[in-house]
Symmetry: C2
């Protein structure tokens, strides 16, 4: 069984301390640790200040088993991590020649000469263990201060991510008496709330013995991420143990799973369209181009996303599609969306056209605002429609409508039913 390590995360830097930038590195580190079965006990933020850093390092060295320090490894004078770490550990600094050579090679490869002040990045506290940084010049290192093992990491996100994954997590697992690997499997869904999915997956953890499988969630409306973490001797064993659990999640969440791991909904939709040799046009009113905007900037989108048609009022959308918008009593309806999708498909020569129309019910600018969504999808086999109501204010209705539009497209391209009741939908007004 994994030993509960007392872990602390110390984030350094004036920009983070003063709130000029939101501290997303912290949440990244904490989530990554959670995914591997660890729990952070405390997060601390201090500025680029010698006394504050020293106090934070010393306190953490008393109270914790492992400490991850983020930031302060750069070449400038306000980067103090190595210096204060040495002071806290009661050792001197020494130049790490192999790292100087690494940095020089790094600059040479880019056709530049290393500036003199970069040498500072290779000055490490005596007795440090180097943590490799394959994507930058900041040298990570591990060092014992007081009772705790400290891991010093760069503030640049992609350098931090690589070092955490490749250098620090294996060492933490080793320290926790759980050598081996943790493999993470993620499922993304739309339409089911966290507590509902939690209920649907009841008993899942028990499928794998010895508490090796852990279930977790991360909700970011409108999507929910379901995470399985598996602890095993090696990657092959983890994959083997995960297999039945993954199959179970797929069986229980079924059509609601829209993507897995690093896939995105828009990426999945683009791949499906590409695989079917299809081309797409999108018609929008209230969402104002946001469905198109999820698809169009993706690499390779030019092959399949062909046309976005946006009008702010029904009459404008009708005009854009050369439809008669002057009909008396023109209101939002699935039938109208169907007419539009059909017209967009015919006029632009694409194989598939998606129309998403939203009628806001009321004008209030708060969370009580509700919207009804009228959606149609025209394809080679005909036209399908879906109607729904979402609440939560202007922004939530917009986000929900964009997601529902893309997800209906995904469902259709995968041969799944468009209509399946989600947890976010409201009943139609009486």
């Amino acid at each position: 069984m994994i030993q509960p390590l007392r872990i602390e995360v110390i984030c350094t830097g004036d920009e983070v301390l003063t709130g000029k930038i939101v501290n997303s590195n912290y949440s990244y580190i904490a989530q990554k640790l959670e995914d591997h079965g660890f729990t952070v006990q405390r997060g601390v933020t201090v500025g680029d200040d010698r006394a504050a850093l020293l106090a934070a390092f010393r306190e953490a060295g008393v109270r914790s088993d492992a400490v991850i320090v983020n930031g302060g490894l750069g070449p400038t004078v306000d980067d103090l991590s190595q210096e204060v770490a040495a002071q806290a550990a009661g050792v001197g600094l020494e130049l790490h020649e192999p790292w100087v050579a690494r940095m020089e090679a790094f600059f040479t490869a880019r056709g530049r000469v290393m500036p003199e002040n970069n040498r500072k990045q290779a000055l490490l506290p005596q007795g440090s263990e180097v943590l490799d940084n394959p994507v930058g010049t900041a040298c990570g290192f591990a060092l014992t201060i007081g009772h705790a093992r400290f891991f010093f990491t760069p503030g640049v996100p992609r350098e931090l991510f690589r070092m955490l994954e490749g250098e620090i997590l294996p060492r933490l697992l080793q320290r926790a008496g759980a050598p081996g690997v943790i493999v993470l499997k993620r499922f993304h869904s739309y339409g089911l709330g966290e507590s509902h999915v939690d209920q649907m997956l009841l008993g899942l953890e028990a499928l794998v013995p010895e508490g090796r499988l852990k279930l977790g969630f991360r909700a970011h409306y409108p999507q929910l991420e379901t995470k399985l973490t598996m602890r095993a001797r090696d990657a092959a064993e983890a994959r083997r143990l995960l297999e039945p659990a993954e199959a179970e999640v797929r069986a229980r969440l079924g059509n609601f799973i829209l993507a897995e791991d690093n896939q995105t909904l828009e990426g999945v939709v683009l791949e499906l369209l590409k695989a079917q040799g299809a081309a797409l046009a999108v018609v929008e009113d209230f969402t104002g181009g946001q469905i198109a905007a999820r698809l169009a900037p993706q690499p390779g989108a030019e092959a399949v996303f062909r046309r976005g048609i946006v009008g702010r009022s029904l009459a404008d959308v009708m005009a854009a599609l050369n439809l008669n918008g002057a009909q008396p009593g023109l209101t939002h309806s699935p039938e109208l969306a169907a007419d539009m999708a059909r017209a967009a498909r015919e006029q632009t020569g694409v194989s598939h056209a998606l129309a998403v129309l939203v009628a806001l019910e009321g004008t209030q600018e708060d969370v009580s605002l509700t919207g009804s969504i009228h959606l149609a999808l025209a394809g080679p086999e005909g036209v399908l429609t879906r109607r729904s109501r979402l609440a939560g204010g202007r922004e939530w209705v917009r986000l929900g409508a964009v997601e529902m539009g893309l997800d209906c497209l995904r469902r259709h391209l995968q041969g799944l039913p468009l209509k399946e009741k989600t947890d976010f939908e409201k009943e139609p007004p009486r």
Copy 2:
């Protein structure tokens, strides 16, 4: 002169500690304090855990003068702030009857009966001073623990914001020996980097005696926020002292100022269009509907934003505008953008049409990717064009192109020149 208070911010809650949510409340609090002349010395994050909370409160009570605690005031069992605060202060809890009455009225006004567990929210440590929460049921309070004055605030952002502004900042200013007010003035610009603007505003703080004016920045690409904070006896004095400084900023940053205070670029553009009785159509390729998507969902946009035309390739945009896309050697150019803007204006019957075309130079998926932007604006007086190059990868080019499009529209509607060299632009390739 304002006394330097040692201030600490303690954020509580498992969701923040484990990184499930990014701690934007922290950066909001820290920035708000900065805007009022205070500096946070340390940020601490702990979970919903009695021992961790108690330790954090006690330590902060030794090391700080003022402590802002966020979260843990809710009605559920894992909301521990009042209970642990009382323990740390060595006092009991007592029911605050006026707050119970407030909560009951709150529920009654919404046609509901107050659930019994909400009474917990009115259980405050003995000797607490109530901090009003006009928008929720969580009762804020101030209490002395050790050496420091603690201010307990709700985790719900809008409740926190109101309490910080209305209850806590005045008390902190009082404690700092600087009774009076701090007034914040903000300018938003596009196209100038932070260090450039800092240079342009050299000597600004000296315009107001006694160090009462403070200049600050917050960069969120592609926009930069320039902040003036003025300390004064009352709002009238602050406004009077700010006037010449504001005029100076407007004179020095000139046409680059796109909005002030709570205004947004898209909001300013919509207001200008509305005021001129104008209507808008937007033509996009690579930005894929994102210019439209900034404008369309705004309240009142249906009056002015009429049409978005999005095609992923030039041929698709040409087809959407009934232009001849089969011309040999069709490439991105300001002239082509002008043809499109003109066609969009004529075909949709709007007064103004904006066309923003982007040609990516290369296919690499990293920060070396550059894009050239070809922009045209057709209005009643004719067609204007602008050409530019941006670097920084797919996402930065996209964000920059969207911003440049909206900002050119703003400039034109305000009678300013479209072309003014920005810091982000690259020279054309040789």
